[in-house]
Amino acid sequence: MKNRVKELRSAREWSQGELAERLAVSRQTINAIETEKYDPSLPLALKIGKLFKLPVEEIFET
């Protein structure tokens, strides 16, 4: 699944570690999401949307 997590994170000048901390996940998870090797669960996707103040469908697209 394509996503804009890397773009949104970079715009805020956050490192993967910082984003991971804000979402209470590991840095490896952020990296796997950004490289599109892993699709997050719905609760995590909602958390990402809430953090970036965007609807989930604007961050993730099929």
Partner: protein, 147 residues
């Protein structure tokens, strides 16, 4: 927010290794191993014990073994979703690998082919060691997949 458990905290040489986290997770493994060795020595020395007593004693390492499983379950519950998936894949790989190894060993034994160390099938210790090896391989594969 609660920090998730990370596997690197129990992986020596990872840069994030923590002896405290490692002990919290693996202390019961140490107890189980020591109990297993002690029980084996005791059983070898005491030949006059009834089979029931010997059998009960041989199963003693199961108690710390179960507590070890409990500490793993707690640790895995604290992992984040990707790490949990990686661990579930690794444990599935370990369980299937051990079953296949046991089946191969007993099949070869049944047909009279000597399998050396596994001539009596997989015992408690060998099953555990096989699972540990397969888990390490499974973990490595899963880690590479999501790297």
């Amino acid at each position: 927010m609660d920090k998730p458990n990370i596997m690197e905290s129990v992986e020596p040489g990872s840069g994030q290794y923590s002896l405290k986290a490692d002990l919290r997770l693996n202390a019961w493994l140490l107890v189980a191993t020591v109990t297993h060795v002690a029980v084996r020595i005791l059983i070898k020395k005491q030949t006059e014990w009834s089979p029931l007593t010997g059998g009960m004693l041989a199963l003693a390492p199961l108690i710390p073994g179960l507590l070890y499983v409990r500490s793993w379950v707690r640790f895995i519950r604290g992992l984040d979703e990707l790490q949990r998936r990686i661990q579930l894949e690794a444990f599935l790989f370990a369980a299937l690998g051990t079953v296949i190894l046991g089946a191969v060993a007993s099949s070869l034994n049944a047909h009279g082919v000597s399998t050396g160390l596994l001539k009596n099938g997989l015992g408690l210790g060998a099953s555990f060691m096989a699972m540990l090896c397969f888990w390490s391989i499974g973990w490595g594969i899963a880690k590479c997949r999501y790297k």
